[in-house]
Symmetry: D2
Subunit: 426 residues, 4 copies
């Protein structure tokens, strides 16, 4: 199914008056405070987050998986799903492919379909945490870190193949997440697996086209429960430095130990020009992969404060590759992603409201209470009218989730695809 | 120093027009959605949080303490400080005394002073985690749990004395926080110290006047770092049940292990009619005792959702005794408390906005996305105009922190009390 | 395949001299200190841990599963596997069935096979965290807690069926682990789901034969990542009290928030006579389900200290139902279980060495350093000769893991069952 | 008071026979397994841990401090206390001074006293986390990171002074622990404070004599509860690299977020030649500063495994500066330190038992169970006879804690110094 711009305009017309009133009131108030409302809205219009090809099906846990109807069974279906997200929100204009789950059969057809939806191909992701049918060696005991050279080589070759596929589609970067690690003390020699990983990454880095970037993800645990080779930002940063200029650290919000100050990590990496990618989700306990902003919206806002500051300040740091990396165990994945996109834009808009000059001035005066007030004033502002206006300007839906429900999109998808279609991937 | 109602009115007049415009806009919008705005404002007007007598001086850590000028050196000064908070916010109309730090010399004078500030005496707190000058036995190895009967007796007698003081002032409840525990495996016999604690608490409970309530606080660690006798809500609840009907559990937000779902504990306790007291603060790592709402405002909102729901639903549960229990290591304590009071009212107002009927209906339909939308719609609403209106109605200041700054209250206090006055307490 | 006693004796004969020398040396030393070595060995001989029917296949994570050869594909195979564990260790003489994964086809045949291996049927486990083929209602949004009565009823009926199966096999208890909970704030009404769960459990309790016990497990998170209805021991204890005398709390080592003092929970539950079951495993981050003793052996020892003390002191508390509940993602499950059984016996033996009288005396003197010395002296003792002696006395293998390797048991199993057999279950 | 070698020999003579029997039995067993027992004992004899000058008095928490008798009130007293530790254990032959708490009055006298006790001056520690009497600027809002240049300068000058004092005493390194950070979001600009800290550290580094090393400590939180500038090993490592070759990271066991894999951090730092210093203690919740090995002895062993491996493998990494950094809130500090020294030597001896070749071989075979067995066989061995033998060889006491008690050392110290002497420092 494909939504038309007309449908959306019709829906918007029902709500436009209320919106206009709320927007005008807020804009007036903000402009009076000296805030560049038009500039903020332009930034919101231009913000795009990639959707990973594996996030459109039902997620699960080791205890099982509850399916729902109308899952996208093919890469084509997945691109259509992202097309729905994008036409509603105008902020989901990119797909991040996971290989080998989503290797295109017909590259031209796939590129055309994506182009029809105004979707570009963002970073490609390799997978060496599972064994593939017909693969010679198993990654049970590690891939790029493996003590056995032939297994490392197989994993390196897989990354070469992923780069190759990405080139055909117009991707410009490779994301490497390694689950490599150990479940028990003694299983791995920490120094050996670290050295092996460094060597493997360097080979992959050297194989990339000159215009490409390498994003190195980190994670403290799961699926290994004693150690993970790239366990924290420090290890990723060290490896990125060893690889070269176009290697960067990728931050996934859920990949941290309890109580980690993630916004400080973001600031440090941007200070060094090494924040390459950013994966959004939310969590209460571990890598829970919940809807963005559903548990800790203030932490998300504080992170966006650092991102906004860094994008203005650290010119050597590229604009990070944004992606939503969540798991949809309970909710309809499309509804979940719509909520995530909304939460991201809200946090971004709030961060853009912060008066950085006043903040700096009060930091200089050590007026801690006022510094907090400045941040919280931005966070407490109801910025939803700004986001709606940005969407209105770009022909998106005023309230995408509401539109999704009113248009009964899931019902259409079930009709098209049936109740038992199943997405490839996890 | 004492603020006058006139001063505050003058300050309000400067800002009244902007406020009125914002309030009218918000009220209209909410009323259109069927929300009882007047009812919410009435609830906000009636909400009062106790200020503990020990929270008005500079706090510190084991690594030291940085003082500031104009600290309240006497109980009289402390009541004056709370008077300032109360006249500005109209929501700090109670003091919670800590004995022996703040034993009144002249009860009538103290009561009169409090009454002048419209301040009542809330729950009284005993202290058996420190040794007092001239006390016979040390609490180094525990108080109510102590393996030595004479030490337990001394601690019980101290609680009797605290009740006695409270009665003279009009308090109606006793709060017992025990640091009792151990630093090393083997130091305590868990079963013995638990049984001792139960016996001691029962004696204290039986000594209380019939109109009094007993609040039993819990905490997982600090100042003991291996075990704490009352380590969690389950232990407190069990002990409260053993004591009797007027014994309750007291929840302090900072007293939980990482990632604890506190709102669920609140719901469980209210379901059983056993939530007696509630201590506000915020934290990122442990019992950090930071300004309320400064780190996890959404968690605070979710807790208030349960509190509001419980106050409506669980008629057998008394209205909890609210108190701010924070430590002011860096900020001016009065500024810190003003920010805390604001954050509490914001979370309360947001929780009052939740459409409980719609929520229940969508829970019944398992529409998880809409359930989340209902909560987040309330949270994302900028409720500050409602709080300002409630304060306006009761002659408080529109923006208490701003007023505090404009009136240069700290400067006056330094002039009055000097730069080196020091509060009793921690 | 089935091991013979002769094979084991032959293996033991190779190592008996070294063992005898080490045992004699240790026994002499311990007896000199006044320790009842014979009594300890008798206790070790009598200690039996149940093996769950689902733990004999390869485990996995949401990221995948790596299989190995010779997995037990039927309940008969599983009982044979436990038979191997039991003849080697003489401490694995029980199986805990998981329904519906392991419903017997022929009850008599199954009972006979178990009896041949000297294996009894321990607690039976219900499963309402997954949907079963042909079941009418889904547990996606909860089972015993579900807001919809018909779904609760289906889950209750399933528990009735599990009891029925257990009765036929000679089981005497039902273990209920509920994954019921929510992934997002607002999804559940905490009070409603708690009340529903209480009502459902009471119905199950009342349906049990009078000789049966009910074990209520708790867990803070996973597979739900915002809330779990029975999130901690306090909730389980409260529910067990509401059900009745034969309802108990079950402690699983991995089901706790970071840094929880589990040994204190054990002591509290035994003090109240409410510790019913105990699941062994180990973990570093969450419910990692690693080999017992592989990460935190000292914590295991401290827990055994409380178990030993409680079994001596709290006569109203039944002997807990012991079970290993781990996941074998990387290791051969049989090797993993042999290591777990060894670690359990080591911790048990060390705990039995503790001089409780000296400990109590030094607790009374507040000699914290000596209290610690008493525990650590027991822990630092190499008790392996005691365990070997206990096994020798009962015709088990001196070193079960070594014997397993020497006998090439896995090779035989692969020959028998093939490389691609797959266990039912997770 | 000063212990004599004769006293100790007399005490040893009482226990020598039992020891000799146990040692011979163990040595024979180990030698049969191919272990170089003599080599291990030599390593144990040569192992020395520095005692910090601030760890000899009673520690406390923000809730108070319980004193004990005979505290060392002067630097001379403190050196005497370490002298007692050293003559008993022969492994405490170094003191680490904390400035300004322990500035010598008479350098020659102090050096002579230390020399009498065979104590050398290890790394010197600066303190910019507290304000000193008469200091011009306050560190309330940071020291080396401070936004105000004059405050940074004061802190830098203080470090210069500490280096100067260290040079006079023969120290060869400076340890910098910064509490610098913030309590609230917005208080600090992360990038600014990081840059300031880097500049300040570089100035200090350049000021050091060429033979000196700089150790940069990290810590996630406390005394600041929102952010700490040097929050983790990654930040410390990055700063050390920016400073130069003789700048290193210092690991303190208690300075990590919950569940951190510390042994992997140790391995990574040694791999890069950047592990400079190591502070021992133990903890269950946060920076609890408990007796070494009292809570997680297996984790300590795993760390020592990496240290032993690194000292053999990473020749570019210097031997780390060992120090005990604990707080003695409940125990007699000298007893506490004796227990810590014992736990350190036990973990070291166990790590030395590991058969690295067998481990590597089984890692290559992916025999995870056997890898675990190799580590646990070493850990389960009762190595205390080896440690006693090492002490016997160097005229130390067989069991230092027992000797301390038998000699009634605390009683003598109380007689000498009185009940109310108080150590400088925290």
């Amino acid at each position: 199914m494909k939504l038309s711009v007309n449908q959306i305009q019709e829906y918007n017309n029902e709500n436009i008056q209320t919106h206009q009133k709320e927007f005008d009131f807020l804009a007036e108030k903000l402009i009076k405070k000296g805030i560049d409302v038009a500039g903020i809205i332009e930034k919101l219009e231009n913000f795009n987050v990639a959707i990973p090809s594996w996030a459109l099906g039902a997620g699960g846990t080791r205890f099982g998986r509850f399916s729902y109807g109308g899952e996208p069974a093919t890469l084509e279906d997945k691109i259509d799903d992202i097309g729905i997200l994008n036409i509603l929100t105008k902020s989901a204009g990119a797909i991040s492919l996971h290989i080998p789950w989503d290797i295109p059969n017909d590259y031209n057809a796939i590129k055309e379909k994506a182009s029809d939806h105004n979707i570009i191909f963002d970073s490609v992701n390799s997978n060496t945490f599972q064994d593939q049918l017909h693969s010679k060696h198993s990654y049970k005991f590690g891939s790029l870190c493996n003590i056995h050279k032939e297994i490392r080589e197989q994993a390196i070759q897989h990354n070469f193949e992923v780069i190759n596929i990405g080139e055909k589609l117009g991707s410009k970067s490779l994301t490497v997440w390694l689950s490599d690690g150990s479940n028990f003390p003694g299983q791995n020699n920490f120094q050996t697996v670290l050295n092996n990983t460094a060597e493997s990454l360097k080979k992959i880095y050297r194989h990339m086209p000159n215009s490409w970037k390498l994003y190195i993800e980190y994670k403290p645990y799961e699926p290994n429960f004693y150690s993970t080779v790239i366990q924290d930002w420090g290890t990723s940063f060290m490896l990125a430095q060893e690889c070269g200029e176009r290697a960067y650290t990728l931050v996934d919000l859920g990949h941290h130990l309890p109580n980690t100050n993630i916004e400080q990590i973001v600031a440090t990496l941007m200070n060094k020009g090494k924040l390459g990618g950013f994966h959004f989700n939310d969590s209460k306990y571990g890598d829970d992969d919940l809807t963005v902003g559903s548990v800790k919206p203030y932490a998300l806002f504080l992170i966006f404060n650092e991102l906004v500051y860094g994008m203005n300040t650290n010119k050597n740091n590229p604009v990070p590759a944004w992606m939503i990396d969540a798991s949809h165990n309970i909710k309809d994945p499309l509804e979940d992603l719509l909520q995530s996109l909304e939460a991201i834009l809200i946090a971004y808009a709030q961060a853009l409201l912060i008066d950085q000059k006043q903040l700096e001035k009060n930091q200089y005066k050590n007026d801690v209470a006022i510094c907090q007030e400045i941040l919280q004033d931005a966070f407490r502002t109801d910025v939803r009218p700004l986001i709606r206006q940005a969407r209105l300007n770009t022909n998106g839906a005023l309230n995408p989730l509401e539109a999704f429900k009113i248009f009964k999109i899931r019902d259409y998808l079930i009709k098209e695809r049936g109740l038992k279609s199943k997405a490839s991937g996890l």
